[in-house]
Subunit: 289 residues, 2 copies
């Protein structure tokens, strides 16, 4: 048993899926849940995802020995402020935010420090769907979860959160927050920005009505992430602005270089770029676990 009483603050896709997975694994006792949206609370209760629904975050965590904060990343300060005075000594708190340096700053702002019992985490899973009604007990199975331990991290808190994610079927990896934020700017945040910008550019063309019906499977895959939640990706890009902006600068420079190759007919250089990219992706495919 990892926790006699688990509290889930934020009953969305991630919060709901963690509750389901831990319940299915039999590693937690009672589960209480909070969400500002009454509909999510009712859905979670009706589906048996939680045992008790609370209309206040403080009430939700008051008796818990393990708290998972699963709110949009720009709501972290608000959520932590709401639970701060209700946490019992010894309670372990962890989060699921897609950016880790911004959450670390938020935690310091609310608690005055990075407390030993706060574990920064990020499960690499999700779908384009949202809300507790789309949550799944096996959402994290065979997925990675990144933990970014800090200088004052308590070893028991860290290992408890590690075991929490392992009980969900995930594989836990540890790294520094700055490394996390660079890696996910590269593999996730920038691709979303590029996909949104590309679809927007096409949509603004005079002939866009004639263009879309001719798009095929390559287009569909390339633009799939542009169907993700604009609010959520606004939050993430904003929370990781420095890393995203740095990579975007490189990307624009590289596209300008390709443009120069095309307009000046340096075709061998262009082909060499395509070949490097294909080789890099083939190498990446060998590393997927």
């Amino acid at each position: 048993m990892l926790a006699a009483h688990l509290a889930v603050v934020g009953l969305g896709l991630i919060g709901g899926s963690v509750a389901r997975a831990l319940r299915a694994a039999g590693v937690v006792g009672r589960i209480s849940g909070y969400d500002p949206d009454p509909r999510q609370r009712e859905d979670a209760l009706a589906a048996g995802v939680i045992d008790t629904a609370h209309s206040s975050a403080a009430a939700c965590v008051r008796e818990a020995d393990l708290v998972i904060v699963a709110v949009p990343v720009l709501r972290t300060v608000e959520a932590l402020s709401a639970i701060r005075d209700a946490l019992r000594p010894g309670t372990i708190v962890t989060d699921v935010g897609s950016t880790k340096q911004s959450v670390a700053t938020d935690v310091e702002q609310v608690f005055g420090e990075l407390p030993p019992w706060f574990v920064l985490g990020h499960p690499i899973a999700g779908t384009e769907k949202s809300g507790v009604s789309n949550s799944l007990a096996d959402l994290f199975r065979k997925h990675r979860v990144i933990l970014t331990p800090h200088r004052c991290q308590d070893a028991v808190a860290l290992s408890t959160v590690r075991r929490l994610w392992e009980a969900c079927g995930a594989r836990v990896v540890e790294m520094a927050p700055a490394q996390h934020d660079l890696i996910f700017a590269a593999t996730s945040h920038l691709p979303h920005v590029l996909a949104y910008s590309f679809v927007d550019m096409i949509g603004k063309l005079d002939d866009s009505a004639g263009i879309f019906p001719n798009a095929g499977g390559g287009f569909r895959d390339f633009t799939r992430i542009a169907s993700s939640s604009p609010q959520m990706w606004h939050d993430i890009v904003r929370a990781n602005a420095a890393a995203v902006s740095d990579l975007l600068t490189r990307q624009i420079a590289d596209l300008q270089a390709l443009q120069d190759m095309i307009t000046s007919g340096r075709w061998d250089e262009m082909k060499a770029t395509f070949e490097r990219a294909r080789a890099a992706r083939e190498h990446y495919l060998t590393q997927i676990e």
Copy 2:
């Protein structure tokens, strides 16, 4: 019966698949095939895709009443020059090139005009795999084929090629070559350039070895087309350079605008861009047939 004798010049994925599809539909008699690569000829013959293999394109088409030229788009002049003097009067010739203005220019260069019996075509189908051994009888089923009729087009030639593709299970759409080239620059050629450039940019980062293992499903889909043949996409971008370059200019400007929003904190504008893109993509999804 569309043709008593079909000749396929270029026994790759597309040429092989057309031959298989037309044979399965029972609309052609004998099928002769040519490829510069003896291996492709042998594979095509062994698999029963063709009845006769020729080591010269001229010999392959000499007795045909319908010829499909299915070669890489930059090899069009070479292929047409090879068959020019062997074509019988009345033989219908069509191609499968991904760019249509460049092929029209190539045809004019070889024949001195756009002959009435030459039909410009482009089947919107393919996989990342290549070669006749990967060809499939149902590759074109429920896919679009674009035909770009020209001013002197013979009506019988056009309707024969239309029925050819309909026999393969495809839906035929007609449009002007310039419109075709803009549409496919937008839905296919530019996405390939962007995907190659993005993967190359990530691959060049100092920490790229640590980045790729953390990439998830979104990254995999977004970069899938960067595993396509660099040679083929070199050819296509080169053959459609003006349209691709124009869109790339717009894309770079839009990315620069997004970069400015991020660095100056104009978050509402950034979110509005994401929202427009998502709406455009949702609209596009309603148009997929």
